[in-house]
């Protein structure tokens, strides 16, 4: 983790892209800031040079709108939503692979962040944590003996054929993961 945090200019562009990439619920539920924060977490895990390219690309995307005729000399983050969606589309089906890859990357980061929001998962009925707890408990109830037997087998001596247990072999006792 790099401790990365968005610069204000980066955050402004990402804020403006959330309504373009995400379903309307992102704005309706007031999730824009949370989604952009989540994008920051993901960007923090990316390799430095990749993250640097992305930041530079976002800046270029923002300023590129100045010379996009329908934008009327406004940067991307100041375009009205419908116009912002059209501008994003010009990158998504862009003139060069670089335009396209950048737009794809941005779309992926924002879509990931949107569907990682707990409130969105709850609305979808996607509750994996509940399921995990339920089956974890059932497993322990039904199969405790087998689980214990295998755990014991993991620390029982079982030398390879023809290899005598070595006198230097030491053993430890504390815990497994």
């Amino acid at each position: 983790m790099s401790g990365y945090q968005h610069a204000p200019a980066t955050r402004r562009v990402l804020d403006s892209l959330v309504p373009v990439v995400c379903p309307p619920e992102a704005v309706e539920l007031g999730l824009v800031a949370d989604i952009v924060d989540h994008v920051g977490l993901t960007m923090g895990a990316l390799p430095g040079r990749f993250r640097g390219g992305l930041i530079m690309g976002l800046r270029t995307y923002d300023l590129g709108a100045l010379i996009w005729p329908p934008g009327r000399l406004r940067p991307a983050h100041r375009l009205a939503p419908a116009l912002a969606a059209r501008y994003f589309d010009t990158w998504l089906h862009g003139p060069t692979p670089i335009h396209k890859q950048l737009a794809l990357g941005i779309r992926q980061l924002i879509a990931l962040a949107h569907y990682e929001q707990p409130v969105i998962q709850e609305r979808m009925g996607y509750r994996p944590a509940q399921w995990i707890e339920q089956v974890k408990r059932r497993r322990l109830e039904l199969y405790a003996d087998d689980i214990e037997r295998h755990a014991r087998s993991l620390i029982e001596p079982d030398p390879l054929p023809g290899i005598a247990p070595h006198p230097r072999a030491r053993t430890r006792t504390k815990g497994v993961a």
């Binding site: 983790m1 790099s2 401790g3 309504p19 373009v20 990439v21 995400c22 379903p23 309307p24 989540h38 977490l41 993901t42 923090g44 895990a45 990316l46 390799p47 990749f50 969606a85 998504l92 779309r107 879509a111 990931l112 962040a113 949107h114 569907y115 990682e116 998962q121 979808m124 996607y126 994996p128 944590a129 399921w131 995990i132 089956v135 974890k136 059932r138 497993r139 199969y143 087998d146 689980i147 295998h150 087998s153 993991l154 620390i155 001596p157 079982d158 030398p159 390879l160 290899i163 247990p165 070595h166 230097r168 072999a169 030491r170 053993t171 430890r172 504390k174 815990g175 497994v176 993961a177």
Partner: protein, 522 residues
């Protein structure tokens, strides 16, 4: 400098013998019989066998030590914590191939699907015949496979753990009359939490973290997490140890760690092992270090049904469709969290919302393709960069596989299918079985294919001929003394099935060789 530093353990959940970044208070020098770089399928299995054989083993792992209770369904957090570079690693080519590597104690076994298959006999025969490897045929490998399967508890799933997505896959395959088999998985009564790719939260999946690593520790191995190895040290043609540094919490360089050892093992996977050899100045007379990269290109399609599937309730990949294995194609159902599905679709805005509203009706069907082309790993500024060009032949195979998979899912009752590539200028979407022919009628730009992989192989291939292979049949690097590779880099060819068990069996065999030849390594 502190010789043989054995830092005091903190009183926490770590087993004895695990040292993390918090345990380093200065530069350290360790001595050991064997130092192993990487704690995944190969490194952990080798460590356990050698430690039980009485050798003093040190394992170095770049990732952190996580325990079962750290694993949750928070997909993006798990990816950030346990996947190298947040999962955004890519082999450059057209299309680029996104690949994932685990970076944690236990390596990729912590985040894989838990499929445990022996190397197919025809592949072992090919390695014997073409790479001149003795003792590698099925009968020779049998005891090693058997031993690995005992250790990681390879079984089919308990029936109650199989979810609706996998049932539908089987229904489709049965309706087509295709061969479909229960998957063999390394698990102890896996209850189907379907969180394999983000760490098993029940402890059922027998990743190296909960099988070989505890065994290695029990027999005295020492494991240092949060340590990035920079290079292998050498004296002439002999490997003498490794030099690395502790990775600080912010990713920066911490204290220096040097390990002096009689045997040095690179077990950091098919992307990083060749880079480590290269950074350390080892040149193979074969010229094959980093070459011969194969990666089982994977694509997935999303089939949407009218019924509730709730793919997250039930085991990941309970079955494999083996009807087309001779063509190098395997099919399986692989549930993926909504955030990852949303990432990979071509939809935005309202359309994305409409598609994702059907998330609980989705079956994600994936395909593994045994590839015919090879790529390479090159070292750029000390870091590996993979290059891979999907061949036209393999692209056609992926198209054919998607067509077959789509037919099968429509047979099971799917109402529409999202393809992993565009059809002409439009997103690839099929509305019924009659649409399947569009896969062949419409142009499919290769560059539009969404190809991913978790099976990187072959970049330090083994073989008897030092002019064609990097290592011998036990992973010992030709023309270098006391340097071994122990991961999927060794594979002379792709194997067409999930590689974990092959890696572990080769590691077990290599350990047997070391222990049978103590003079050579003392």
């Amino acid at each position: 400098m502190v010789a043989n530093a054995r830092p005091a353990l903190r009183q926490d959940s770590r087993p004895d013998g695990v040292y993390t970044r918090d345990d380093h208070h200065g530069d350290s020098v360790l001595d050991a019989d064997v130092v192993i770089v990487g704690s995944g399928a190969g490194g952990a299995a080798l460590a356990a066998e050698l430690a039980e054989g009485g050798l003093d083993v040190v394992v170095l792992e770049e990732g952190r030590y996580w325990s079962t209770r750290d694993f949750t369904a928070n997909a993006s957090q798990m990816i950030r914590q346990m996947y190298r570079d947040g999962g955004a690693t890519m082999a450059l080519g057209s299309p680029p191939v996104l690949y994932q590597e685990g970076r944690a104690v236990g390596g990729s076994t912590v985040v894989n699907g838990g499929m445990s298959w022996r190397t197919p006999e025809k592949i072992l025969d090919r390695w014997w015949r073409e790479a001149g490897l003795d003792g590698i045929r099925a009968a020779d490998m049998e005891p090693y496979f058997e031993r690995v399967e005992r250790r990681i508890h390879v079984r089919t799933q308990d029936p109650e753990s199989i979810g609706r997505d996998n049932q539908l896959l089987k229904i489709g395959a049965d309706a087509k009359g295709w061969k479909v088999i229960p998957n063999l998985r390394n698990q102890v009564h896996c209850p189907g939490s379907n969180n394999c790719a983000f760490g098993c939260p029940t402890g059922a999946k027998q990743s190296a973290l909960v099988s070989y690593v505890p065994r290695a520790l029990h027999f005295g191995a020492r494991l240092y997490s949060d340590v990035r190895v920079e290079r292998i040290t050498r004296s002439g043609k002999r490997a003498t140890g490794v030099v690395g540094h502790v990775v600080r919490a912010d990713g920066g360089r911490g204290h220096r760690l040097t390990v002096r050892a009689k045997l040095v093992v690179s077990a950091c996977g098919a992307i990083h092992s060749p880079a480590l050899l290269d950074r350390s100045g080892f040149r193979s007379p074969s010229g094959m270090v980093g070459k011969n990269l194969s990666l089982h290109p994977n694509v997935k399609l999303v089939a949407i049904f009218d019924e509730d599937v709730r793919g997250w309730e039930g085991v990941h990949q309970a079955y494999q469709v083996r009807e087309f294995q001779d063509e190098g194609l395997l099919f399986a159902a692989v549930n993926i969290p909504p955030s990852i599905i949303a990432m990979t679709t071509s939809h935005t805005g309202r359309e994305l919302g409409e598609l994702m509203a059907d998330y609980d009706k989705m079956v994600i069907a994936g395909m593994l393709c045994e590839d015919t082309n090879t790529g390479a790993v090159r070292t750029v500024a000390g870091q590996p960069q993979a290059f891979y060009q999907l061949s036209d032949f393999d692209a056609d195979k992926l198209k054919r596989g998607c067509a077959l998979l789509a037919e099968m899912m429509f047979e099971a009752g799917a109402k529409r299918i999202m393809l992993p590539f565009a059809l002409g200028d439009h997103a690839g979407e099929l509305r019924g079985p009659d649409d399947v022919r569009r896969i062949f009628a419409d142009p499919v730009p290769k560059s539009s294919m969404e190809v991913v992989t978790v099976h990187m192989m072959g970049t330090a291939r083994m073989g008897s001929d030092r002019t064609r292979a990097v290592t011998d049949g036990f992973g010992l690097v030709h023309d270098v003394d006391r340097l071994m590779v122990c991961d999927a880099s060794l594979f002379p060819t792709p194997i067409g099935v999930n590689p974990m068990e092959t890696i572990q069996a080769l590691a077990t065999r290599a350990a047997h060789h070391v222990l049978e030849n103590p003079r050579r390594f003392s």
